[in-house]
Symmetry: D2
Subunit: 317 residues, 4 copies
């Protein structure tokens, strides 16, 4: 299945990945409803690999913070699975691929308010609502978790750890009509306990966390390492594997199957251009490049991961 | 990720799986439209494991032939991928989970006649049509392929190899209105080159092939073994992995996500009660028990695979 | 097509309709999300007929105010058509039957935020938004219009004219998650200019207007009288006819076809149990009985109108 | 509601309608799956009016036979309603507008094989199946009915009555994949008693009947005349009105609401370019012009009927 590479080889390889995949011309799109994401220069490209042996390799813009957007959903799910009420969580959200757009209301209506999985927007709103039942400021709790796992960047000479970009959150919130529609719809079906507006606000603040590739790879390491994070146990071995399974079947919006086919690794993307991918037992990888394909996944990031998988043999299949 | 078990341990383990999972009382359902499947006694249960080191372990009713039904879709896809026209194939069928029932026409209408993946009925009809363009009797070609890979059963004293149950096929064909609707619908969208009736007939005959757990595990070994089958190379390493990825995201009808979550292995089920699962690099597993859950997957078979995964640590995540 | 009845005959007839159709046992349902409507005794039944010759006939609980709910949509549409911006209105909402539930989001997603007609909730929200562009308190304007047309009740000894039940509106607003979802969804598609919350609030207040059968029959008379209301011209002859056509094709939620089949008259129902029906050239009829059928239309009211249509020959067909 | 015109005035009027509405340039479309309809010159335009007083007025190409296509559905429904098994018919098909395309399978799946109304293809297949239970060659029975009602054309010097264009039917049958899909789908839901292929063949032959505007207006007169046809009673007064109600709510494919709004009359169109419209108590109108709008209704025909309605005041509202 997977192959261990020598340290030097991996360092060379990801340098080469940056050389080959950093965009030279603008292509792809930016999200229509999040204006500030359009301002990020198209040629940003970073990659970081955090291994289970404790090493971190990085290249390109791997220390530049970007908006993690939906990658946050992996961590809020993990936080929810740390609790004792997971039975209740799984009664409120399924674990199946959706087959429709990430923010569609159609399936939600057909299935009476039970979202298909925790990684479509409706499902993530339910997870946020679930967390808010115990911790009203779930976004702040998420930030603490990520800071704990990601730490300060190596040799960054004072550069910041993860932070919520509150101005970006406010801007995104002002054009969150679709998410508000989803939240009120969930409420109508009795699948939201907190106020719809509050849940959307908290959700948007989670999405607005700024992190670098290096930080995200470190924060996601527990998914490759039997639940053991850089700062202690995050989940049991079984729960960590199960988050991986949801990433593989549901992590790339409506292109999960294509990503599994081309890359063969559990992954979760965000419309900020980041993708977190997991090589079970070996490493967590984060790539970032801001322009997106038609499904909302990073164009250059997806291509880079496919190339990396081909060249390393990293694949779960 | 995965753990190699000693031979003796594996032999004991699958014996224990049979003891614990063979149904004692009837529960679950039989397919409404395939009468002869209802006649199989509810307490049949078999399991076989074919390893990449060449061993075959089996227990319970592992030598009893059953109707492979949709498990055939894995092998027709593999046969299609052996050809030189794979580009054309992938222009006619996607590789995404469907999010809807395996025989739904809705998504097909929304997506203008391009099936979501090769494992829903519409997609399998397209694969069959693709094969029939070169080999009009694609079912006979499939039978030859399976016979070559599965061989004669060890020590079976004259028991048969794979065979098409033509009487069962004729019976199933008589109640194939839904598949005929799908085929004519595909034809209407220009995504079927052969006559709709002929494609459905050939498809039903593929589904009506009778094989045992032992035979299916051997026939599926190439998927665990970098494309190397019991009778030579079936697919390249990459193509074999990619079939695995489609099994994981699309192989269990509308319960692919749940199966990935509970079992963590690429699998493909059939309404005859069989499930083929793959442990990449290690083995192919076939379990069989004829009563089904609400999604059409073997009740006892799914539970047995989840148990086996827990006890062996076999999981791709 | 229609038959003019003598005054005495009509008086007797509607008395007889009350005798035969006033519910003796509770059957039917009340709206799940509007608690105060459940408190209205099940055996209320009223009917009023306002003729183009200026007479008003009534029987039963014809002077008891009830919540007009969606019948308000006829009048807000008429008010919108009085304006000069009807071209813009019809670019924002279609005039086709929906074929789905009155509060479904599915069709809205498929058709990119353009509601099927002004009588489903999404369409009525757009009409309210359109009115609010000129008159922020559109509900108050509607109340003035209805008061002007309905006047004070004949011989009611001080009983009130139309009034907004603000307590009921507040109660209904507290469980308006579905309408809020629709409004935010419209906003997401750019088909709402005012704030989503404000539009829903105004819409709910329109629905919470209390009127009697007599008042509603008088207020709706212009639809039977070439646009001439009890208090002057409301619409042109053509516009009045066109409102009637929308009532016939879209006025009874998802049972418009069945109502046209059984009754043969343009009608608009509300979940408060009222139905306004139009006999073009002759009269406007309002029946009221609070318990509803599965589609949300008054059980006894629909039966009474079918009976009345059979006995008078009133039908547009 | 409606206005009686003097004979001379009506004669002049329909002559003027032809002058103004006969297409001068080609616009609109022809059905993609019925090649022979594309061969009819774009500038054909005919109109005929058959009155309840026994007169027939006509102008333009009113004596040229054309393919009646879906207008046949009005007459097969009427024939089905003549029988004694109408209760069974209405248990197999609803009477509601569909809100979707005339040949959609989606709604049929959602509603478990019960078509929305008799005028969408799925519903017409059920009506044909219902007729075939008693009269295997339902198309021949339809032809006899139409010939009886339409008679020989006035002063046509030997021109033919209604006839099935068997060559056209065969051609259309060869590209009837969608209708075959619908029929097999109905069969799968148990809502078809005859063989799917036979029902589609009979249905296509009904659609392939050739008639002129004059013949169709005469054949449809019973719908304007309380059920009394040119050759005796066709339906009871009530049943005739009810067919009219279904025409108004469901007769113009997915543009029924728009047609009711613009024209205000019950109508049924066919992709051959014909439209049959009813002025209850006064007359049946048939217009024909072969090029279609996006919804499949005759472009010039619809415009002509809207104009005629405006100029005569003919409207049921």
């Amino acid at each position: 299945m997977t192959t261990t590479l020598h340290t030097a080889a991996l360092d060379d390889l990801i340098g080469d990945i940056v050389l080959h995949h950093r965009p030279r011309h603008e292509s792809g799109t930016v999200p229509r409803n999040i204006p500030f994401l359009a301002e990020v220069p198209f040629d940003r490209f970073g990659i970081a690999v955090a291994t289970t042996s404790g090493d971190v390799f990085s290249s390109g813009d791997a220390d530049v913070p970007f908006s993690i957007q939906s990658i946050s959903k992996v961590f809020t799910l993990a936080m929810a699975l740390q609790g004792t009420r997971t039975g209740r969580l799984w009664s409120r959200v399924l674990r199946e691929p959706s087959g429709t757009s990430f923010n569609s209301l159609v399936q939600l209506e057909a299935e009476q308010g039970i979202p298909r999985n925790p990684f479509i927007n409706a499902g993530a709103l339910v997870v946020t609502d679930h967390l808010m039942e115990e911790t009203p400021d779930a976004a702040a709790r998420l930030l603490r978790f990520l800071t704990e796992q990601a730490g300060n960047q190596e040799g960054d000479g004072g550069r910041q750890g993860p932070v919520i970009d509150e101005a970006a959150a406010a801007s995104e919130l002002a054009s969150s009509s679709r998410n508000l529609a989803l939240a009120h719809f969930l409420k109508d079906f009795g699948n939201l306990t907190q106020a719809a507006g509050a849940v959307v606000e908290n959700y948007v603040r989670q999405c607005s966390i700024m992190m670098s590739c290096v930080q995200l790879a470190k924060a996601g390491l527990f998914l490759a390492n039997d639940g053991q994070g850089t700062a202690g146990t995050v989940l049991s071995r079984n729960e960590a594997k199960r988050v991986g399974s949801i990433m593989l079947t549901c992590g790339m919006y409506d292109a999960a199957g294509e990503f599994a086919y081309r890359v063969g690794l559990p992954g979760k993307s965000g419309v900020g251009g980041g993708i977190l991918a997991i090589v079970p037992g070996h490493c967590a990888i984060c790539v970032w490049s801001p322009r997106l394909d038609a499904k909302g996944n990073s164009l250059a990031g997806t291509a880079a991961l496919a190339d990396l998988s081909d060249r390393t043999g990293w694949s779960v299949f």
